[in-house]
Symmetry: C2
């Protein structure tokens, strides 16, 4: 059936989701004594970052994704947000087994949740299992077959006609087989060989094992809890029976390695059928930053397809029970020991590989190589590796050092959001802040920087970080058209450079006399980044005028000639009638120290982690190219010259950040009257989120003075990252303001 | 001073405005008996179209413009609106002298204005001058020198330092000289040689003259009204004295050939100085559709510069009085007679030409040629021409026939707005409706279709006719991105074609199996007009699939492959949650009559004035090119074939209007449930003005049925003209709805 052409097309269609717990620890690897970070919205239903049993036990939750790649993008991003929301001397413990626990069980702090019911439930768990047992962490892997796959399977058989029943049968079979064969997963990926101090009241386990967590010493219900997977009705009624008998406080206390999911409550399964399954037996992989590897997820997906194909035992309850028994054995094997089930394991690998071949599944080349290596050499399994590493120092020390590495990686480039580093910086920062605030982030178009943000029922769409529903359409079209912008601002009494627009070079040449004797600028109407612009600070002769026009007309069919206004250009970032940031951009430069050459000083400045290339960092690498050399030459320098201490040498005329310029926050230094001009001008254009550029000659002169300022342009997609991570001056987290502006309910609650 | 380099640059800088009166007449040339058209907002302060003395006397008012070209654009547009707002059996009388008047003076209907004061004023004029005299029409030409010209002049002399006083002195000199030399204008452009029946109680004038209107028999105050132009103080005090003495009912009753203007009332001139001057002596030029020619305005501008340069007489009151006397003489000369002032006129022409040469003024080559011709041959003056033309029939008959021609021209292409025919059709129609509604229309960027609409203090900016402040930014960005649009609509339960987006051809080729067996479409993500789209209604083989992808990737770096939905595509135009129009587009076609060949039938269909080229008309010419011939061939036809009566033959596969397709309004035929789908989908995208395309297989099937419809795309700049001027079905004046939506106060008042 799987090899049927119609079915094959959809075989890899699936939806994934991961929940992952880890404890916050201090830099020494001890459980953190602090509360859950305040910078994360402290809602019990935070979609991405919650607390599990303990206050230290962070639970990171991915949204449902349709590719494994996306799953890992979100895992990475949520980890980044979690890390950088904690104190910078806290990190995440990478093992399923908790770090050393307090002597007194009561010193383990239960999560301080909002909802009293949630706290009460944790209290009941503490009473039933002890707080120590609840400190074990792991990964829950949620998996759903693609809808079209199920439909294709349905139509390639004739016994079952009902879609929902058919789907439920599929998941029941996969669940039973998973429970039967899960020892296979435990062997390769079990990773909890030892406990740390104070986990066990008395240490029953004198030797290391593959997985304490998956063994009878791990995270299990009492032996009396028995739930049948033979049918959905039996599953539901057994669970409800367990609750009725008091063996479980609630249905969600059932710790089976596979949970059947669908609807909000177990009882909903009856109506909805099984929608997806949750595998709960995955130990944290300490060697992976996010607790699980891409290959592991690929393996799990293939394994589930294999289990769908694989025949199961006739008596389903017996089949599941045998599985529990086998798994118990493997979990307690020594990490370096060959497993008792080596032959069976070998056969499963062969069958899986055969299946993958037959069905043309594009599995990564190394998966089967790795599985076979691990089978042959137990020291290559996760438990084996952790055990061996720990022999050099201790398991705790290994864990601490891994945690440290992850911690450093996450803080190295704080302006980035892991998983989404190909997106624009401002969008990455917006996503960071949204995730932190508990807003669901969906990427509608990655290339196009198109986000859907959702807080409860409130949806906002955002493109490029600040193109939102709060701005009206025609205002952005006004800003897109420099001539129209100037006309409107001028009509409302703002000072803008006088100028004219030309559609061809001849009339522009004829107007030479209108401009020649005064400072003026020639620029293409719509291009950006300073391309095709010529500035004549002292007027120009006809030849230069003509050259400048030719240059500008190469870039655009419309060219503006404008009065040049003397002074310094400032970028005002205005949001909802308030100036939130003012930035000064200074051309690429270095400051002499009397010792180093210009080349050395540039190299030194370029070492700043804020500097990089192609807008992937808040600042750009300073080049020493043709233009910079020319600029040095006109000042009497070579790149080997050693400038005097304190001397500032400019390497470019233009102040663009993209050519190595410095961004300097001057928000607090700009007088209010100029801020009012910016706010009023933006309001005149009807804009809510705007970067408006003012040239000001002397900020100490009142803005009302004649020609005190000139408005150069208004930008409907102003870069935010340069204000968040300026070269100098205070950081202005505009992204957070944008989010609060879009979701005012965040501030109310 | 004028030849000074700094001054020369600005010599032609000026601002212009025209007010022009004409009577509404019926097709026989008799005064209309109807009221002022109701389709024009009946506000006394309509910015463009008002009533002067009589209910039939339309006054067309241009806004202030900075070029003569713009002046004529507005003149043309306002005429078009006036014409097409009247009953289609009414036209405008092209002469200054009114058509035959009623026997009884009381049958001349005074304008039925809103404001009682305005009616009372007209009643007092009727009492003072008689209603007949008030029926004379003409042009008032408003003129202002450029601010920079005045500034340059100011700084090139040293006597006067005060800008405002200097400016006032300039206008006073020009006004006095104009009054002195205005006989010169009367000679060339006087155009009221005869009156029609019942204008004079007794006909004093037995012979034709150059200008009754400019003579003592014309539109003048009583002889006792004397106003000095020697200084602004004298001008003001004389006017107020005349009113005090009861010689004028109000200051505005002063009929001097030049009025000094500035501020709202004459008294304001004291504070504001003279801002501009109003020349009131221009007769309607019957040979020009808009009552005045471009060359005349050019002449007036040059003449005013000449008068600024020309020395004036020592005694200014005497100088003006002599001018009145001279003008009286010229006005009453016979139209074909040489003027008594021929030598003086010759000298003025020479001096003007010399001045134009000295100052490098780019005057049109023919101006001086024409002036000299007219001077040598009086039959070439306006009065001379009108007199001679009238000899063949009668002046009334000539006027009627000119009026008819103008009337026909204005109705020939009702979808166009004269003066702005280079702009997009929808924008032209929006401008028409705005002008009609009394909304001020300013063009901020003509190429960019950028309008500023203003009604009292309420400003709205509009681009492309329907991109407005009512839509939010991100919603338009959503619509710009087909993938995002579909994702959002799908998430909200609407049926959209399933599909995938690819950034390169390889993964698209690998997904062949996903699409090959079903109907599907391959299309570039962002291009429009059907370019690069391939449709496979029966699935495709690998080669064709690859070809289609190659084609699509030539147009865009992102390509969509989508399920093809069977049915008919309808365009729903939604505005503010209402479906205002539904349009069906049918491929280019002809209907046989059993007699004519396909070629002949196409030619016949192309004769429709709605058809043209390049989107300058609501429909496009049907071509008979390669594609059409191929299409005919597959149906077994040649272009010479004669199809049977009633047979419909399609000439294209695609239904685009741009390739000769027919637009058919089906608004009333589409069931409400589909309209609700359109409205809800548009609301989901957060859009207010939207053209949304639905494919519907059978409109009689309920929209809730599975796959009853598919939403193809949503357009943020939907064409409106095709709904206003459909090939078949009812016209839907969406432009008017857009204006009412932007200015809800229009409906309230």
């Amino acid at each position: 059936m799987l090899a049927n052409d119609r079915v094959k097309t959809y075989l890899l269609q699936a939806r994934y989701g991961i929940e992952k717990e880890s404890h916050r620890v201090d830099l020494a690897g001890n459980l953190a004594k602090t509360d859950h970070p305040k910078s994360i919205t402290l809602k019990d239903d935070h979609p991405y970052i919650q607390r599990d049993f303990a206050e230290t036990q962070m639970e990171l939750i991915t949204p449902v994704t349709e590719t494994i790649e996306d799953l890992f993008h979100y895992l990475a991003a949520i980890h980044d947000v979690a890390y950088r929301s904690m104190e910078d001397n806290e990190m995440l413990w990478p093992l399923s087994m908790p770090p050393q626990l307090p002597e007194k069980e009561e010193d383990i702090v239960i999560a301080k949740l909002e909802n009293v019911e949630n706290v009460r439930y944790r209290q009941s768990l503490a009473d039933s299992y002890g707080r120590r047992k609840q400190m074990v962490s792991g990964i829950h892997f949620n998996f759903e077959f693609g809808e079209e796959l199920i439909e294709a399977l349905l139509s390639s058989q004739s016994e079952q006609k009902n879609y929902q029943q058919f789907k439920t049968e599929i998941y029941l079979k996969v669940a039973r087989n998973y429970l039967h064969y899960r020892w296979f997963v435990t062997y390769f990926y079990g990773a909890s060989p030892r406990s740390e101090k104070n986990f066990f009241r008395e240490d029953f386990l004198h030797e290391a094992v593959r997985s304490i967590r998956n063994s009878t010493f791990g995270y299990t219900n009492s032996d009396d809890v028995e739930v049948s997977y033979s049918s959905i009705q039996n599953y539901i009624s057994d669970l409800s029976l367990m609750v009725k008998r008091g063996l479980l406080s609630e249905e969600k206390e059932f710790y089976g390695a596979v949970r059947l999911r669908g609807g909000h409550q177990v009882a909903d399964l009856e109506d909805h059928g099984v929608q997806y399954i949750e595998m709960r037996n995955i130990d944290l992989n300490p060697f992976e930053t996010y607790g699980i590897s891409f290959e592991q997820v690929e393996f799990l997906h293939l394994f589930l397809l294999y289990l769908l194909w694989k025949d199961e035992g006739y008596d389903s309850d017996e089949w599941v029970k045998t599985g529990d028994y086998y798994n118990g054995i493997v979990a307690l094997e020594h990490p370096l020991a060959h497993t008792q089930f080596e032959i069976e394991a070998q056969q499963i690998i062969d069958e899986m590989e055969h299946l993958a071949d037959t069905l043309d599944l594009p599995v990564s080349d190394t998966l089967f190589v790795h599985l076979r290596e691990m089978l042959l050499d137990p020291s290559k399994t996760l438990a084996g590796r952790l055990y061996k590493e720990s022999e050099k120092s201790s398991q705790a020390e290994v864990a601490r050092s891994i945690a440290k590495e992850n911690h450093e990686k996450s803080w190295a480039k704080p302006y980035q959001l892991a998983g989404f580093t190909d997106m624009e910086l401002s969008t990455q920062i917006v996503m960071f802040d949204a995730i932190q605030q508990g807003i669901q982030v969906e990427i509608l178009d990655r290339q196009d920087q198109f986000l859907k943000l959702k807080l409860k029922e409130h949806i906002e769409y955002v493109k490029n970080g600040n193109m939102t529903s709060r701005d009206n359409y025609v205002s952005t079209l006004i800003m897109e058209n420099k001539t129209v912008t100037k006309k409107i601002l001028h009509q409302h009494g703002f000072h803008v450079p006088k100028g004219e627009e030309f559609q061809s070079i001849e009339p522009a040449l004829r107007s030479f006399n209108l401009f020649s004797s005064k400072p003026f600028v020639v620029k293409p109407k719509t291009t950006n980044y300073g391309i095709g612009i010529s500035i004549f600070k002292e007027g120009a002769d006809y030849e230069d005028y003509k050259k400048a026009l030719t240059l500008a007309f190469k870039e655009d069919s419309s060219v503006l000639i404008e009065e040049f206004i003397n002074g310094t250009e400032y970028r005002f970032f205005v949001l909802n009638d308030k100036v939130l940031a003012v930035l000064l951009r200074v051309p690429a430069n270095i400051k002499g120290d009397g010792k180093h050459s210009i080349q050395a000083l540039v190299d030194q400045k370029n070492r700043d982690p804020l500097r990089g290339r192609d807008h992937r960092t808040p600042l750009e690498i300073i080049e020493l190219g043709e233009l910079e050399n020319l600029m040095l030459k006109t000042q009497g320098y070579e790149i080997d010259s050693v400038p005097a201490e304190g001397e500032i040498i400019y390497l470019r005329e233009n102040s663009n950040i993209s050519t190595g310029g410095d961004s300097i926050d001057v928000t607090d230094q700009i007088p209010d009257d100029y801020k009012k001009i910016a706010v009023d001008a933006v309001a005149t254009l009807g804009v809510k989120i705007c970067g408006i550029d003012l040239i000001i000659e002397h900020t100490e002169v009142p803005a009302t003075d004649k020609n005190a300022y000139g408005i150069i342009e208004a930008n409907f997609n102003p870069s935010m990252y340069m204000h968040v991570y300026p070269y100098k001056g205070q950081s202005r987290r505009l992204t957070k303001h944008v989010i609060d502006y879009l979701f005012p309910e965040l501030l109310q609650s």
